[in-house]
Symmetry: C2
Subunit: 170 residues, 2 copies
DNA sequence: GTCAGTCTGTTACCTTATAACGCATGAAGC
DNA sequence: GCTTCATGCGTTATAAGGTAACAGACTGAC
């Protein structure tokens, strides 16, 4: 109803994102196009908001920001966009924080395709400053895959999160 | 949610738990005593309920069962007990399911102390049958600890959860 | 243009978790 | 004995996270 034309206007809200974010968005856009997926304005905006906050951000915090430019935004608005972005590996969910964070490798300029690093990411969560660092360690992935196989288990998506103290806080 | 025939074994409400559970409760009790902690009747009951369900169980499902014998039970009742049990390593939280599961190694008869295996447990979650299997693989733990250290990170509690397909479902 | 599939708006609701306050119990000290 | 402090728990209220279901709008294929 009140949803006129605003979102076709295309700027993400009132303005655009910082350059570094726009670049990642463009990379994501390209990756989507290459797979026949659609990074719609809404999805692009949500991804932008996630990337803009380089730390994990909750769905409702995201929603609040979204509301600044989309008056009608509601929880499903955010969650549906997040669902898409998670499937595509553009964002990850940090389970311990119930929060979402952008995947830097999936939104890197030359990223490509399907060898699912998206499924094998590790997070280091600093208990002091709250910052989260993304890790992509192959030895962890393979150790885990082996252990799972040994248990007769065909591994799929892996959630690996380590709470501790980061270099700066240590 | 399946109403298994097997968990009808004992009314678990007011009375006691099955023998295997009582044995684990006694072990937990002993472990608490050895550390100056108190496994109060409430905590013991909550732990019993978690152990009785050998699969992950949500806090509110736990609450429902608790209410059968404690009319006044409310969310904090359960969450406070769980907090204690988590700290002591008697139960783990499966983050992806928002559910809790008993730690078999911490409640084993001859369990001892503090070398925190409690912090280094892995879960295999079957996407088909929903069953969860606990794993305690040292190579995973050390790979992860090494990767974290290399990133300048002092690792503490680790959450490792693998979604996939179990032997029976595969 | 019309049809099917996808995406989004909208309302309503459910589940999970915590804050805050106060009473009860029990050990520690005088 | 009585105070004091700490811990555990009851109780109320509310925050935070997440989904179901239906309707309208858009897009691409024919």
């Amino acid at each position: 109803m009140k949803r006129g034309v605003t979102d076709r206007a295309m700027p993400s809200g009132q303005g655009r994102f910082p350059k570094r974010v726009e670049a990642m968005l463009d990379a994501a856009d390209a990756a989507c196009a290459a797979h026949g997926a659609r990074l719609t304005p809404l999805r692009r905006q949500v991804l932008g908001l996630v990337l803009e906050s380089d730390q994990p951000i909750g769905a409702y915090a995201l929603l609040d920001r979204l509301k600044e430019s989309r008056t009608g935004a509601a929880p499903p608005t955010v969650y549906r966009a997040l669902e898409f972005l998670l499937e595509r590996g553009f964002v990850h969910k940090v389970e311990r924080l119930n929060a979402f964070i952008g995947c830097h490798s999936a939104t890197a300029p030359h990223d490509h395709d399907d060898h699912d690093h998206a499924h094998t990411v590790q997070f280091l969560i600093c208990g002091k400053c709250g910052r989260v660092q993304e890790l992509e360690d192959e030895s962890v992935r393979s150790a885990l895959a082996n252990a799972a196989s040994r248990a007769g288990f065909a591994p799929g998506r892996m959630t690996v999160e380590v709470e501790g103290v980061c270099r700066d806080c240590g």
